[in-house]
């Protein structure tokens, strides 16, 4: 393999909430263009891991490297400066389970806001980029609508467009289809599949096993805050080696 600068590297990420240790020495390395899925039972720490990567949650200890951004967290190390955090968040986009669109702004405004305030684009630049993105997710006609007037699937597509508007290096998806009906979820998965084919680096926490198997380059299985297995999705899902993976898969897929 030629020298690829890993896009994202997480080393020994630990996270405690009070007495409970939610993440234990989690390590991950992702290259540009990789699509990785994270699966596992509820409470395994999957969402927490994702949120530690864009520092919505601060890990207790660990090292995070994303592109040029590097930070060591723990005792004796300085906290990330506001500027560093801003750079990190520009480069890492996040799509939430509950969409989190801004209800008082139109779809257009939802997507242009960060472009103007964070990237400094002019109104015209932002608006035209917004229309491009809306076209890409198939919602150009909804530009002037309010989120309240959009269906769940449409809202999530707007949310994806919103995160893409900052041209991030990596996109994080936290159970993007869990709040949607299955048919609607399929719409979203289609958009995500296209993004993957276009070369976006993606980390996806999901319960959609079929998606993880078909679209992902790698799958990580997390149980109780630890990555118990990782590798080619097709292999792991048909022949899991770790005991906990077997338990989880049989519960989920009924084998």
């Amino acid at each position: 393999m030629p020298d690829q600068i890993p896009h994202l590297k997480a080393v020994n990420i630990c996270k405690e909430f009070g007495q409970v240790q939610v993440l234990r020495d989690v390590c991950m390395e992702i290259n540009s263009g990789d699509v990785i899925s994270i699966i596992g039972p509820s409470g395994a720490g999957k969402s927490t891991l994702l949120r530690c990567i864009n520092l919505l949650e601060t890990p207790t200890t660990g090292v995070l490297e994303i592109g040029d951004f590097k930070i060591t967290i723990g005792e004796g190390h300085k906290k990330a400066s506001k500027k560093e955090l801003a750079t990190l968040r520009r480069n890492v986009g996040m799509v939430f389970q509950s969409f989190n669109l801004f209800p008082h702004l139109t779809v257009m405004e939802n997507i242009s806001l960060a472009q103007r305030r964070v990237l400094g684009r002019t109104k015209d630049e932002a608006n035209s980029r917004t229309l491009e993105l809306l076209d890409r997710v198939g919602l150009k006609e909804k530009a002037d609508a309010y989120p309240g007037r959009c269906s769940g699937g449409q809202q999530q597509r707007v949310a994806i467009a919103r995160s893409l508007s900052l041209d991030p290096m990596v996109m994080l998806f936290d159970e993007p289809t869990s709040a949607l009906d299955p048919e609607v979820g399929a719409e979203i998965l289609t958009v995500m599949r296209e993004l993957a084919n276009d070369g976006m680096t993606m980390m996806i926490v999901t319960h959609e096993m079929a998606f993880a198997r078909e679209v992902g380059d790698r799958v990580y299985v997390m149980v109780d805050g630890v990555i118990v297995e990782s590798g080619d999705p097709r292999v792991i899902m048909s022949e899991p080696t770790h005991e906990r993976t077997k338990q989880f898969l049989s519960a989920v897929m009924g084998r």
Binding site: L56, K82, M94, F102, H104, L113, A114, S163
Partner: protein
């Protein structure tokens, strides 16, 4: 007591009503912006600022409005400051209104769903922008019904300004009572004036509550 005379009494109280509404307007006009500032200052980095703000709010909320009125009107003269009835009423009512409104505003800000802040965060918006574009617009909508309710309460409280001889409804009623010696009908007229404003206003607040919760 015939109805005509009674309605005459009500009419005599109306100029007082105008003053009552004026005082309500002034105290909110000054108090609400002040409350917004206080709501933000409570989380200030400097401990001194926090404590002064909390002190101001707790006193405005913890003291009877009557006592606040007296402090300005009867108390300050001890240190050679002699405010007029209107000035005393303005300071006291503004203080009280701001104190209550601060809690309403803070609670409204807290009510904005956490996901909104997270979305703003993950898009890289800084704290000022998050507050200005995402939190404040939504918090304002949430705050409107309780703030309207507060206005109605402040309007009723203007009755207290009577004790410092500010001429609102109760003052007018008192004079009317002393000239006609018909205290009962006169105070009933005063009650009617207050109810006449409060009941429709409260109905309006309820309607607004329903309308606003539909939009979000």
């Amino acid at each position: 007591m015939d109805l005509g005379t009674w309605f005459g009494y009500v009419a005599e109280l109306l100029p007082g009503l105008v003053n009552a509404v004026k005082l309500t307007g002034i105290s909110l006009g000054l108090g609400l912006p002040l409350a917004l500032v206080l709501a933000l200052l409570i989380d200030n980095r400097l401990r001194v600022v926090r404590w002064i703000t909390i002190g101001f709010v707790e006193i405005g909320r913890g003291l009877p409005l009557l006592v606040l009125l007296y402090i300005f009107y009867q108390g300050l003269p001890q240190v050679n400051i002699v405010p007029s009835a209107l000035a005393s009423a303005t300071w006291a009512f503004t203080w009280s209104a701001a104190a209550y409104a601060t809690e309403i505003i803070r609670s409204s800000i807290r009510s904005v769903p956490r996901g909104q802040t997270e979305a703003g965060n993950s898009l890289g918006l800084n704290e000022r922008d998050r507050f200005r574009y995402i939190i404040l617009p939504q918090a304002s909508r949430i705050a409107i019904p309780p703030l309207m309710g507060l206005s109605i309460i402040m309007f009723q409280l203007t009755s207290l300004a009577y004790v410092i001889t500010y001429s609102e409804v109760m003052q007018a009623a008192y004079f009317l009572g002393t000239t006609t010696f018909n205290y009962l009908p006169v105070f009933l007229a005063a009650a009617a004036v207050y109810a006449g404003v409060t009941i429709p206003a409260s109905a309006l607040v309820t309607t607004m509550e329903k309308r606003l919760s539909k939009h979000l």
